[in-house]
């Protein structure tokens, strides 16, 4: 039977990666000074499973690597090895290494890495340093390579199983059968070792066996049959070469019993010489009326297989009766007794299965078969070629590691059964509604309109619920994204010499899988920055009267239709002055602009592209490195990022994300004949546009006076060159949206409904369009484009960006600017 093991690889990888996560988080929890048995067991189990799986599926690099790790863990578990903090680090490193190896394997590589080699050596050192730890490798079975090239060997096997053999589910019959597969099973005998009847325990085994096996197998093959019971049993396997086969015909005179001789005793003596089988003939039995119970009417044919018997020793047994009996003793040189394995083993089976009913089986078949025995069948025809030579399992073809497919990353998702059940329920409801509507449709008249409307509203509800259920399938708890942080914070803390504590809240908050995948990197960046730049060194903290250990908090929660993720630290906070200084130095702002900046505006500078380079930021308390990228990534998810910070108290970065990228809460707007959609999350407010509140800014774009503020405006009809209702904007509306922490007004003709829209990718269906992040199909079948705020701002051009930057200036500055423009 060949099975393609590759079909299990994907599951193996998935479960191994999960196992590694388990190991990692458990290792983090582990206190080396006070090892919790449940934790270490969990770590061990995970390592054990990975090892077993990788070995089975032919990933030897991983199984060999894990073997040593497992041995160490096992020793820790058993309490024979002390575990230190360094050992925990080593194990964590191993987890990383295994992860990498598995990834390589997934990509079709052999999985060896420089790190794995190095760690293996470390393991070897750890394991060899304590020489009292015996190598756990099981000794290879004793080799008995004394195979006779001349032909089959005759093995004499003495097997006395422990009396408890039946209680472990082992069955001697099967062993005999297996031996029969190895060669010719010549003889099976059961010697009575039975206790007195009233001491008989039906569940114990009192039998033992002497077996002659003619086979060209090796001794190990026979040993293997008894492998499972060898410890409790007596087993002797000997090669018996000078074995002779004797055939004895014994027809005692009728009066043999009168001399006190008893055939049974004779046979018992004979059995001491070797293996004896006896067949009794009853052909001389008289009719019942003539039967004399004191006379013997039976005769026997006996087969004796012995290594020691001689004709003399056999004759000696019959010495007292030989005068009154017919006795033929012949040595059979070539022919062998008929293999009796089948018949005898079957008898044994019955005796074993119903031990209560067991009559002590003697080595003498005293009961006679009713049929007239035929002459000894010749077994010469049974050439050795026909002897089944079942090879032991080790010669079975080794599982070849199937060539791993080139990283066939099948994006799969594990879904709780309750979610699937819910979905099925919903579909059931939908089917009912559909059949109801169908019925209405076949035979419709106007009177049934209310019924139709009711059906439609039901359909609407079904659809919404179904949609929600489907969306929920893609939702994963945010712990998937958070799970890497304990390890990361720990490693970073160790590397930087900082004492850190990580708190994670709201890990069960669910988020769409695609959003989760994309938010991972920005989160890593933010956490890294918090550790790197936010948290001070322990000594500095103590000097400030803060506890030595810094605290990082990750918090996730739902708010409205959004997910909010906060990354907080209790470090030194952002240094406003230094940020501004840096921004001026980089020509991002002018000194004049900065004077009136609020803290938020100042902090926002770190999101500016080009705000910092790695070297420039190293002495800065800010978070410059790549923050623009972080922000861009979050915006690409239709998300928003904000910073709050207090000097010496710490900073909090808040990320607000839509729950999913598949559906959007949108505000529909109309410009001329076109419908556009704003992501609802980005809208701050909408108001009537009034001509007199609009100022033209020279060299820039228009600004709109919004209460005490000025916001730059974008006329959507210009951006997309469509015909608006009116050019004068007096009847237009302005939708004020959030742009890079500031505000932008977008001029539209009309606000339509707010609704959830299903996002269709333009790139996949058409091509990328600037200012448009996607499209959707509305109820009437028309296509509406979803606006990308950053994109339309970019379309509005550089002058807009300048205006936008200036618009952030203080009220006075802006007013001055507006006056200047007018």
């Amino acid at each position: 039977m060949t099975i393609d093991l590759a079909q299990f690889h994907q599951v193996f990888y998935e479960e191994s990666f999960e196992g590694l996560d388990v190991m990692e988080s458990a290792l983090m929890e582990l206190d080396p000074d006070n090892i919790d048995s449940e934790t270490i067991n969990a770590i061990f189990r995970a390592a054990h499973s990975i090892k077993g799986g990788s070995a089975t599926f032919g990933f030897t690099s991983v199984s060999e690597f894990t073997h040593d790790l497992e041995t160490i863990l096992d020793q820790v578990r058993a309490g024979t090895r002390k575990f230190s903090g360094d050992d925990v680090n080593l194990c964590l490193k191993s987890v990383d290494c295994m992860r990498e190896m598995l990834q390589l394997l997934q990509g079709g590589d052999d999985g060896h890495t420089p790190l794995s080699m190095e760690l293996k050596h470390q393991f070897a050192r750890m394991l060899s340093s304590d020489s009292d730890v015996t190598d756990s490798q099981e000794c290879a079975p004793e080799q008995a390579p004394e195979q006779d090239p001349q032909g089959p060997t005759l093995w004499e096997i003495r097997f006395t199983p422990g009396s408890d053999i039946l209680k472990t589910g082992n069955d001697v019959l099967r062993m005999l059968r297996d031996m029969g597969d190895l060669g010719e099973l010549l003889s099976v005998s059961c010697t009575p070792n039975l206790p007195a009847f009233n001491a008989f325990d039906a569940e114990s085994c009192y039998l033992s066996w002497r077996i002659l096996l003619e086979s060209d197998c090796e001794k190990s093959a026979i040993q293997e049959i008894f492998e499972w019971v060898i410890d409790e049993s007596e087993l002797g396997i000997n090669e018996t070469e000078g074995l002779s086969h004797w055939k004895i015909l014994f027809k005692p005179g009728a009066t043999i019993l009168h001399t006190g001789n008893e055939p049974l005793r004779l046979f018992t003596s004979l059995a001491e010489l070797g293996e004896l089988t006896a067949t009794a003939f009853v052909d001389k039995l008289p009719r019942l009326s003539l039967f004399d119970c004191e006379n013997c009417f039976m005769s026997w044919e006996l087969s004796l297989v012995s290594s020691s018997a001689t004709k003399e020793s056999i004759e000696a047994v019959f010495e007292w009766v030989v005068d009154d009996a017919e006795l033929v003793i012949a040595q059979e040189s070539n022919s062998k007794p008929k293999p009796v394995a089948d018949r005898v083993t079957k008898d044994v089976l019955q005796e074993q299965k119903a031990p209560q009913a067991q009559t002590p089986p003697t080595n003498v078949a005293a009961a006679s078969p009713p049929e007239i025995p035929q002459t000894k069948p010749q077994v010469a025809a049974e050439s050795t070629a026909s002897v089944p030579t079942a090879k032991p399992a080790e010669s079975a073809p080794k599982a070849k590691p199937a060539p791993a497919k080139k990283s066939a990353e099948t994006g799969s998702i594990r879904v709780g059964i309750d979610k699937v059940d819910n979905l099925i329920n919903m579909v059931g409801e939908l089917v009912i509604t559909q059949s109801m509507l169908g019925q209405l449709g076949t035979d419709f008249d106007v009177n049934r309109l209310p019924k139709l409307l009711e059906g439609l509203s039901q359909l609407e509800q079904n659809t919404r619920e179904l949609q929600e259920s489907v969306m929920r399938i893609r939702m994963l708890p945010i712990s998937f994204a958070f799970s890497r942080f304990p390890r990361m914070v720990r490693d970073l803390g160790q590397a930087l010499g900082k004492d850190l504590q990580l708190e994670m809240l709201g890990e069960h908050t669910e988020l769409d899988k695609t959003v989760m995948e994309k938010i991972g990197d920005p989160l890593v960046h933010l956490v890294r920055n918090a550790v790197d730049h936010g948290i001070e060194m322990p000594a500095d903290r103590l000097a400030k009267g803060k506890p030595a250990n810094g605290k990082i908090t990750l918090n996730a929660y739902h708010q409205g239709g959004n997910v909010v993720i906060e990354i907080s630290d209790d470090g030194k906070g952002l240094d406003r002055e230094k940020i501004i200084e840096k921004a001026i130095e980089k020509n991002l702002v002018t000194p004049l602009e900065c004077e009136t900046f609020t803290d938020e505006q100042a902090y926002d500078l770190i999101f500016q592209p080009g705000f910092s380079t790695a070297q420039a930021v190293s002495d800065l308390s800010g978070r410059g490195v790549g923050m623009d990228v972080v922000k861009r990534n979050i915006q690409a998810l239709n998300g928003i990022v904000e910073i709050r910070s207090t000097k010496d108290k710490g900073s909090t970065i808040t990320i607000r994300l839509p729950l999913t990228l598949a559906i959007l809460d949108g505000q529909l707007v109309r410009v001329g004949n076109n419908t556009y959609i704003f992501p609802l999350v980005s809208i701050i407010e909408s108001l009537h546009c009034r001509r007199e509140f609009i100022n033209k800014v020279a060299g820039g774009c228009n600004v709109f006076k919004l209460r005490d503020d000025y916001v730059p405006i974008i006329e959507l009809y210009k951006t997309f060159t469509v015909q608006p209702d009116a050019i004068d904007m007096d009847h237009s509306l302005i939708v004020v949206v959030d742009y890079e922490g500031g505000k932008v007004g977008v001029v539209v003709d009309e606000l339509l409904a707010q609704q959830q829209v299903v996002i269709k990718s333009l790139e996949q269906n058409y091509r990328r369009v600037d200012g448009i992040s996607g499209a959707t199909i509305l109820g009437d079948g028309t296509v509406a484009l979803i606006l990308d705020i950053t994109g339309i701002v970019k379309l509005a051009g550089d002058k807009f960006v300048q205006t936008s930057a200036r618009a952030r200036m203080s009220q006075e500055g802006l007013q001055g600017l507006a006056q200047l423009a007018s």
Binding site: A42, R45, H48, T56, F57, S136, K167, N170, R174, A396
Partner: protein, 120 residues
């Protein structure tokens, strides 16, 4: 055809065992730990063979064997442990608990079938 209860906390291992056994015409029920296996064993009738991993959460294989041997219908049922080569102690522990034999990991489908041939 036999009815076999396969117990392993590793899904891939369970799949592989189950697939192999089914391919050989056996009927297989699966459990992911001892607790689940025990309740399955009680619920299912006529299980001919149990193949169980040793290291499992909730209830390990050794405890499972002990529990099963307490049940009249599992008194003589063959129970094979899945062990690793480092499981020498486990083997004797398993045997003391009443395990029939063991299958040494790693194994391939042919080895698995050959081994269960010893008891079925």
């Amino acid at each position: 055809m036999a009815k076999i209860l396969a117990v392993d906390d590793s899904a891939s291992m369970r799949q592989m065992v189950s697939f192999t056994l089914k391919g050989a015409g056996h009927q297989v029920c699966e459990a992911s730990d001892g607790v689940e296996a025990l309740s399955l064993a009680k619920a299912e009738s006529g299980v001919d063979l149990v193949i169980s991993d040793i290291n499992m959460p909730n209830m390990d294989g050794i405890s499972l064997i002990k529990e099963l041997r307490q049940l009249p219908e599992y008194k003589f049922t063959p129970i094979l442990m899945l062990t690793t080569e480092s499981g020498v102690d486990k083997k004797s522990e398993g045997k003391a608990a009443g395990a029939t034999g063991w299958i040494v990991k790693p194994f391939n489908p042919d080895q698995l079938l050959a081994t269960i041939g010893k008891v079925l």
